[in-house]
């Protein structure tokens, strides 16, 4: 479903601050595969997701969705196939707009907006049905401003919004990292439900080793813009959190990672 061929992304080309964020990623993700992506800060995880979504320009290499080459497609066109949920709950929704207006925007994802009314009774019913799945009582708050909702509520709505339109690829960029543990579990449950239901191809960036192994069927580790580790299915089931942490330490190649590892183990 997603195929990256020798993908390079360089920021500030030609400047002293030049940074190679991705150095030749070769990756093939099958349809409805759920891939978790781990790696330390600055490893290029978010850049990989952004380059697939089209937010970051690909410097070199090719990107395919199924058999279509999309390397030079704009982010807006790619949204026909790609839905995403951001780490920051404030990022995935518009705080100035109401819940129903936000959902209406997501409902029109990948279509050209026309001049017909953005909201009507039948749409509101669809939104209410969807919101009631969350059990957060949001179905009665369609007209509330998004900014009045809590972070967890906003992230839940973002997640629902990403599934309102049929898409093939779902990109999750540490979408539970900013939430309290209880809400994070709730969000992950809904995520798993939606993925199962819609048979989506998923890439999920996470800092939690537990999550990385518990969800999906394949795990990638990125380090300094390269995939250094790729396990799936049976092979993966033999790994546990401590194995991943050892790999982390090996990648970093120094002893100072201990404090980091503790953090990772806790989450």
């Amino acid at each position: 479903m997603i195929r990256c061929k020798n993908l390079h992304v360089t920021f500030n080309t030609g400047l002293p601050t030049e940074k190679c964020a991705l150095k030749g990623i070769d990756l093939e993700i099958a349809e409805s595969q759920f891939v978790t992506v781990i790696g330390s800060n600055g490893a290029g995880k978010s850049t990989l997701l952004n380059s697939i979504a089209g937010d970051v320009n690909i410097t070199q290499g090719q990107l395919f969705f199924a058999h279509k080459e999309v390397t030079h497609w704009s982010a807006a066109i790619r949204t026909k196939d790609v839905a995403r949920v951001f780490q920051d709950p404030l990022m995935g929704t518009c705080s100035d707009l109401t819940v129903e207006e936000n959902m209406s925007l997501a409902y029109g994802r990948g279509k050209r907006g026309n001049l017909s009314p953005a909201l009507n009774a039948s749409l509101r019913k669809v939104f209410q049905e969807q919101l009631s799945r969350l059990n957060l009582g949001l179905e009665d708050r369609l007209q509330s401003e998004m900014g009045l909702l809590s972070g967890g509520q906003r992230q839940s709505v973002s997640l629902l919004m990403s599934a309102l339109q049929p898409s093939k690829i779902l990109l999750l960029d540490e979408h539970t990292a900013a939430l309290d543990p209880k809400t994070a579990v709730l969000i992950m449950d809904i995520t798993a439900q939606i993925i199962e239901e819609k048979k989506l191809t998923v890439m999920m960036v996470t800092h939690s080793m537990r999550q990385a192994l518990d969800f999906g069927s394949r795990t990638l580790m990125l380090h300094e813009g390269e995939i250094i580790f790729d396990i799936q299915n049976e092979e993966r089931s033999q790994y546990d959190v401590s194995d991943l942490l050892k790999l982390f330490a090996k990648a970093k190649n120094d002893g100072e990672t201990l404090a980091d590892d503790k953090l990772l183990l806790d989450s």
């Binding site: 979504a53 937010d55 704009s74 982010a75 807006a76 066109i77 949204t79 026909k80 839905a83 995403r84 951001f86 404030l90 990022m91 995935g92 929704t93 518009c94 705080s95 100035d96 707009l97 109401t98 207006e101 209406s104 925007l105 997501a106 029109g108 994802r109 990948g110 279509k111 907006g113 026309n114 001049l115 017909s116 009314p117 953005a118 909201l119 007209q143 401003e145 919004m161």
Partner: protein
């Protein structure tokens, strides 16, 4: 204030209602502070006046003025989007350039339209003894009403909602397949078209176009938007657009009251100070009101 003076105030208030709607579209919907309006207001007036003087029927002349305004909005958007010039600066550049353009269009600093046919002339002839000012207010009211309805419908549409999303959260808009640049172009074009329409109508009701008539348009537009939204706060588009128009009329009434109250001793040249004070008051009021309420609630607890 005499009835006659009141109608004059209403007329100009309604015309600047169009500008208020335009300013609302850029400042509030797109979050794009656009100072182009100081130039595009004059541009609308200048193009319309020059066209009328050269014998073009007033309706077409007005349309030409509106089109010119649209183009000036597109120039600002282009400078900002294509070359990453800060929005405020891009609009100041366009505004500055338009000053020269306006002089070129008119060929002289001002054009008199007193004896020329305007879009109001046919109705004034039909008016049968009713003073022209009433006829003008009626026609302008009708134009503002239609424009207001169109803008409300637009902002409530899928396209309009996408534009509001662009102003609120660009990244989210893009992640939902909205082409951000296109929305900014369309928004600035619409806003400056409305402002130029205001300029065209102003020139025709007041009987002149002048190269300096646009100075301070942005502040008056902002004043109208802020006064309107302070007095009638709402989320509904219909109320918001209505409050822009009401804000504009109230602003004009406040100004003419201030100027007419002889005991204060203000005269016409004090207009800018009055505007600044009114806008400051409208901005301060919600803040003070909030603090007052919070204090009152705290007192109750004690």
């Amino acid at each position: 204030m005499s009835l006659f003076a009141f109608m004059g105030t209403l007329e100009i208030g309604l015309i600047y209602g169009l500008i208020a709607i335009g300013v609302y579209l850029t400042f509030r919907v797109l979050d794009f502070p656009d100072l182009t309006v100081d130039g595009s207001f004059t541009l609308g007036a200048a193009v319309t006046a020059a066209a009328i003087v050269s014998g073009i029927p007033a309706v077409f002349a007005t349309m030409m003025g509106v089109l010119a305004g649209t183009l000036s909005g597109l120039v600002t958007a282009w400078l900002n989007l294509r070359f990453n010039i800060l929005h405020l600066l891009a609009s100041i550049l366009t505004m500055t350039a338009l000053y020269t353009v306006n002089l070129r269009v008119m060929g002289k600093p001002n054009i008199a339209l007193i004896s020329e046919p305007t879009i109001f002339s046919p109705f004034e002839k039909l008016g049968m003894g009713i003073p022209n000012i009433y006829v003008n207010v009626l026609i302008i009211g009708l134009i503002v009403f239609i424009v207001g309805l169109l803008v409300i419908g637009f902002l409530n549409s899928q396209y309009g909602l996408a534009m509001r999303a662009v102003g609120s959260n660009k990244r989210m808009a893009q992640a939902n397949g909205i082409v951000v640049h296109e929305k900014v172009y369309v928004g600035l074009a619409m806003s400056n078209a409305l402002v130029a329409l205001g300029g065209a109508l102003f020139a025709q009701t007041n009987g002149f176009a002048d190269s300096t008539m646009g100075v301070g348009t942005i502040v008056i537009g902002l004043a109208a938007v802020i006064i309107g939204q302070t007095l009638i706060p709402s989320r509904a588009m219909i109320v918001i657009i209505l409050s822009c128009i009401m804000g504009s009329i109230l602003y004009r009434i406040a100004v003419s009251l201030a100027l007419n109250a002889s005991f204060i001793g203000l005269n016409t040249s004090d207009l800018n100070l009055i505007t600044a004070v009114l806008v400051a008051l409208a901005l301060v009021f919600p803040q003070v009101n909030k603090e007052y309420k919070a204090k009152k609630a705290a007192w109750k607890k004690v």
